[in-house]
Amino acid sequence: MSRPASGPAPAATPGAGRGRTILYWVLGLASLAFALVAPHIFTGIADRHLLVLIAINIILVASLDLLIGGAGLISLGHAAFMGVGAYASALIVKSGQPFIVGLLAAVLFAGLAGLIVGIPALRLKGHYFSVITFIVGIIITILMTNLDDLTRGPMGLTGIPFVKINLFGVDHTFRTIINKVGYYYFVLGFALVALWLRWRIGRSRFGRALTAIKGDENLAESVGIATYRVKVTAFTLAAAMAGVAGSLYAHYAAFISPDSFTFVHSFDLFVMNLLGGAGTFAGPIIGPIFLTVISTGVKALSPALAQIVYGLLLIVVIVALPTGIAGGIKRLSATLDRRKQRGATVASGGQADE
């Protein structure tokens, strides 16, 4: 069977790929370098506070992207799992345990919450799933408020201990009220791990199963992917990662309350993910940076106005910019690639598309 010489659009061409890989590495290293020196460029306390928040949000968005970009599961209650992790870690460390135990507790409890939520929620398909995650996120906040023997309810937990770690035999406490820079690097380490994990999962068999589910669930089933099981696993994993972010946040802010993990925060994460670009590597980095900068500016005007802007952003992003910034850049470079290719073919006198 013969095939026409040209026609369908190439997803990637080998030659251009190498050039692009080098570009990505350069951009990546430059970004890393910038991230490392950032606290010394932005020296104000408010600015450094933002840097820490951005780093924490990178972890959250990377975990959310596993669901949205990886599997096409639009989860709208993600901040709740962060909250579960935050409370778990805060309570454990307050009771005298070291930070590492608190962190593990955060992973465990947030993951467990993800499992408990995921099992019924993932029975539903499409936007019904999203509706449920939204509702469950609110249920979890209600629980946080009502289990006040444990959580001290709406008044929140105060006096959460700072992170104390043992570095090369020396005890070091990240007193984030006075010194944010050290903790920023601490969280940055976790953020890099989160990004790396997200990337590795995307390239694995598990990630390919998620991609298949995102594309066509029935087709995925028919080639042997146990779609329900895979989705529940991904959901649990994402929740556990969010728990880590929660723990890091709790020991940074030293105070958490149910108001820190509302559905509005879940929307923030969703917008960050979408704005940055779902399913891309840079998306979880670009999104938090953009949105944190925008929201700080708008909040200065009025807090209600910020929410209105969020509402508008939500609608605009989902309609006009479904692939986000990183996705848009990818598409742009692919279009440029194709134009270059066509130009080269014509120039070399070869056969152009018929």
Binding site: A304, Y310, I318
Partner: protein, 290 residues
């Protein structure tokens, strides 16, 4: 016996308000497959309409009620024309998220203009007492129940007996069949939204005399109503009503015998239970897998 009667009365009171919002939600869901969370904002604005109408303009509560319904209808129709209709070729997830965006915008516009203070409306007949089977109801609670029953029955009659109501049921049951016999989906959709907006606005107004409110009730009320819709069956009118009755009863049982705090969660527990056992809801229709 008296306790049971009081329980039943309280349950009925809660159910009637839930039923109104759930009914509107399920109608829109059935006709357009949209989870219209913005209706929570309409509920909230219904409450504020009552507040400002009675406080600032000195209008009677009985004028505030139809006024709120009118405003609710207009806002709902506006949402449909400006947001949902243009987005209809996008996926259901997109429209849902747009609905959330609308909810956020409307809730925060209210916050910006009305402030975060809790308000309550001085309702008529609050001091009157009525004794039913040994349980006591305030006159206003009786009024709420009467209004709710009238609205629900009226909606049911509208759907069953009017041509446009029948068209609405037809589009919800089989959209392709409806198109083929010349039913205009646009008209039906507008009517669905207008109806839902009126119901939500009415519910908000009725509730404003009993519970103190601030803009944040928008989200709280709509998610509970949604849980009821899912529990009763998405798109099912009897499901919404029966779901509301069951949830109202279960909530009050929880509050009476277990704890008031967890009573709030009853609707959600029922929703999760139904999802695990019978995902289509009590009275919903099964969805095909392929």
């Amino acid at each position: 016996m008296e306790l049971a009667a009081q329980l039943a009365l309280n349950a009925l009171h809660a159910s009637s308000l839930y039923a109104l919002v759930a009914l509107g939600l399920t109608l829109v869901m059935g006709v357009m497959d949209i989870a219209d969370f913005a209706q929570g904002a309409i509920y909230m604005l219904g409450a504020y309409t009552a507040f400002f109408a009675t406080r600032e303009f000195g209008l009677s509560f009985f004028i505030a009620l139809p006024l709120a319904m009118l405003i609710g209808s207009l806002i709902a129709a506006g949402n449909y024309l400006i947001v949902y209709r243009p987005l209809r070729r996008f996926s259901g997830a997109t429209t849902f998220i747009a609905a959330l965006g609308l909810l956020l915008i409307l809730q925060n516009l209210a916050l910006h203009f009305f402030g975060a203070d809790f308000r309550i409306v001085r309702a008529p007949f609050v001091s009157a007492r009525v004794n039913i089977l040994g349980a006591t109801w305030t006159g206003y609670q009786v009024l709420i129940a009467i209004c709710a029953v009238l609205l629900v029955v009226g909606t049911w009659a509208f759907l069953k007996f009017t041509p446009i109501g029948t068209s609405l049921r037809a589009v919800a049951q089989n959209r392709r069949g409806a198109l083929v016999i010349g039913l205009d989906p646009f008209r039906v959709e507008v009517v669905a939204f207008v109806l839902a907006g009126a119901l939500a606005g009415a519910a908000g107004t009725l509730a404003s005399g009993v519970n103190a409110f601030d803009p944040s009730i928008a989200a709280i009320v709509v998610i509970k109503a949604f849980a009821i819709v899912i529990f009763g069956g998405m798109g099912s009118v009897p499901g919404a009503i029966i779901g509301a009755l069951i949830v109202g009863l279960a909530e009050n049982l929880m509050a009476g015998f277990v704890s008031t705090q967890y009573a709030e969660l009853t609707a959600f527990v029922l929703m999760v239970a139904v999802l695990l056992v019978r995902p289509r809801g009590l009275m919903g229709t099964p969805e095909a897998k392929l």
